[in-house]
Amino acid sequence: MTDARNLWARRLATDFRAALVVTGLLALAPLFVSSPYTLGIIIVSIYFALLALGWNLLAGFTGQFSLAPAAFAMLGGYTTALLGYHLKAPLAIGIPAAILVTALLGFVLGRIVLRLKGPYLALTTLSFAEIARVVVYNSNEFTRGDQGLNVASLMDSRVGYYYLFVVVLLAVLVGLYLLMRGRAGRFWLAIRDDETGAESRGINVVRYKTFAVALSSAICGLAGSLYGTFSQLVSPELGLLQQTGLVIAMVVIGGMGSLTGPIVGALLVYLTSEWLRGFGGIQLIVFSTLVIVVARFFRTGLWGLATQPRAAKAAGAAP
């Protein structure tokens, strides 16, 4: 028991340190990259890294599959934008409101669906994502439909934005690490590995699953809200299922169930997709093929491939 526990704690600590190194490298990037365009691309990939961390909290750590990370980002962005557009609310209210609204939506959705075992969360979030997008798109008088809404900007400096995104990434990362190290994290992993077993040991499975969904939605909502103020525009396209597909690709390729994997996956996938844009829109073909191949043959993704030899040695097991 104790050994297994230490092994997990050690692995998580290694994982966290690696993620800190990646974040640190990101923080150094403006010293070498001066073009605002390139910085902008890295900012967007950090936005995706936040979504990937949020989705991974559910899929990788808790074993629950949501298909709505992009929809929650869209809703977060729209919460901030609508508060500014209709009520002239400042961003100091708009951004926390986005976190609150998406957390609440996630909580309600979780309460309804997570009493049940089985694929209900994936089914419901898929419908929810598509309907949320259609509603935003069709409510012309309230959301201006596909024209999108303008959002106030937090600051003028692009480097300033860059550091804002890095700091938020760091904060989310540290928060997730602390949670994963503590009680909630161990309960989530127990639920992922054996839901019935976890329940039989007295874990309130429904409560912890719902907590994970609400937290994951809130992370996505925050990311969407920040993205809105950065690009100064939110549109229904933020919530496209293709965006969710991209997030899943990032986590699966980077490595599910780790902290470093989603961040590295997001950077790799988004930067590659920017580069592939020059070859005529084949990004999604490439990434969806990679997702299938990785899920089929290298289930642990890049992070797993990088750490498996060490993990096997640490466990003292042969293969």
Binding site: F65, I112, P119, L123, I282, I285, S288, V291
Partner: protein, 296 residues
């Protein structure tokens, strides 16, 4: 009189939904996983129909079996390459079923959409209709000729499927594997072949549904998203994995949607599905005819 017209038109849409949902229910019945690429089987069927009829210039009546064949082939290939690790051999022991199924089928869905988008193009196509007849009036009911024929073919397919599953040897094998895979294999049933068969049938029906509707919907690469979502609602409403439940639920959803679009809101008619889904999960999670005991 509007009510009769809505009822009949809704019922017809219910038949198309049933073609989609039944395959999904069968897959869930044997493997306990959801195929998130189901809408793309529909899309591939619609495109095969349109392209075969237009580019090869053959009669639409010949393009229909071509679409069916494409769907069946796609289903069987997907099962062989991607689904088999879920149940065959030692490899399946370490796989987390839900994780694998969601990720792989969702990835497949994106792949198929983007492949078609790249190869055929993102613009909608208009398929040739099976009949020149555009308006049929039956008492108070006004119908489009294509819709009427498509409804007839769908009805025949559904009745055929029901007979096949109830009566034929292969159909009984499907029932046995759905009830108990291990038990069925002990009784000498080839469970692997049966699973392939189920995927082929499921692909065939979804593709035919797409092909029959192609002249009405003008297929574009993402055309499968909404029919797929509706089949997910239907499968939950009918009771996960129940074929008969799915058929009943499909007809019900078709009729409810027709009335909802006229009396409540046309713009938000697709949101009715989500509403029904949430109500079912809240009040009757086992579905209309589903087995009990799926609650935690």
């Amino acid at each position: 009189m509007l009510a009769v017209d809505l009822f009949v038109n809704g019922l017809i849409f219910g038949l198309f939904y049933a073609l989609m949902a039944v395959g999904l229910a069968m897959i869930f019945g044997v493997l306990r996983v959801v195929n998130f690429a189901h809408g793309e089987f529909y899309m591939v069927g619609a495109y095969t129909y349109v392209l075969v009829a237009m580019k090869l210039g053959v009669s639409p009546w010949l393009a229909l079996p071509a679409a069916a064949a494409a769907g069946a082939l796609l289903g069987a290939v997907v099962e062989r390459l991607l689904m088999r690790p879920l149940y065959a051999g030692y490899a399946s022991w370490s796989i987390m079923k839900d994780e694998y199924a969601v990720v792989v089928t969702f990835g497949l869905s994106l792949l198929l959409i983007n492949l078609v988008d790249k190869i055929v193009g993102p613009y909608p196509y208009r398929g040739p209709a099976l009949t020149e007849l555009s308006r049929v009036v039956l008492g108070p009911v006004l119908l489009n000729g294509q819709k009427l024929i498509a409804a007839g073919v769908s009805l025949a397919l559904l009745v055929g499927l029901a007979l096949f599953i109830k009566r034929s040897l292969w159909g009984r094998q499907i029932q046995a594997v759905a009830q108990n895979r291990l038990g069925a294999s002990l009784a000498g049933i080839d469970a692997t072949r049966t699973t392939s068969l189920i995927f082929a049938i499921s692909g065939l029906l979804a593709a035919l549904s797409g092909a029959l509707l192609a002249p009405l919907i003008n297929p574009s690469p993402d055309v499968g998203a909404f029919p797929a979502m509706k089949s997910y609602v239907i499968v939950v409403l009918g009771g996960m994995g129940s074929i008969w439940g799915a058929m009943i639920a499909a007809l019900l959803l078709g009729i409810l949607e027709a009335f909802f679009a006229v009396y409540v809101s046309y713009d938000y008619r697709d949101a009715l599905g989500l509403l029904i889904l949430i109500l079912v999960l809240l009040f009757r999670p086992q579905g209309l005819v589903g087995e009990k005991g799926r609650e935690v």
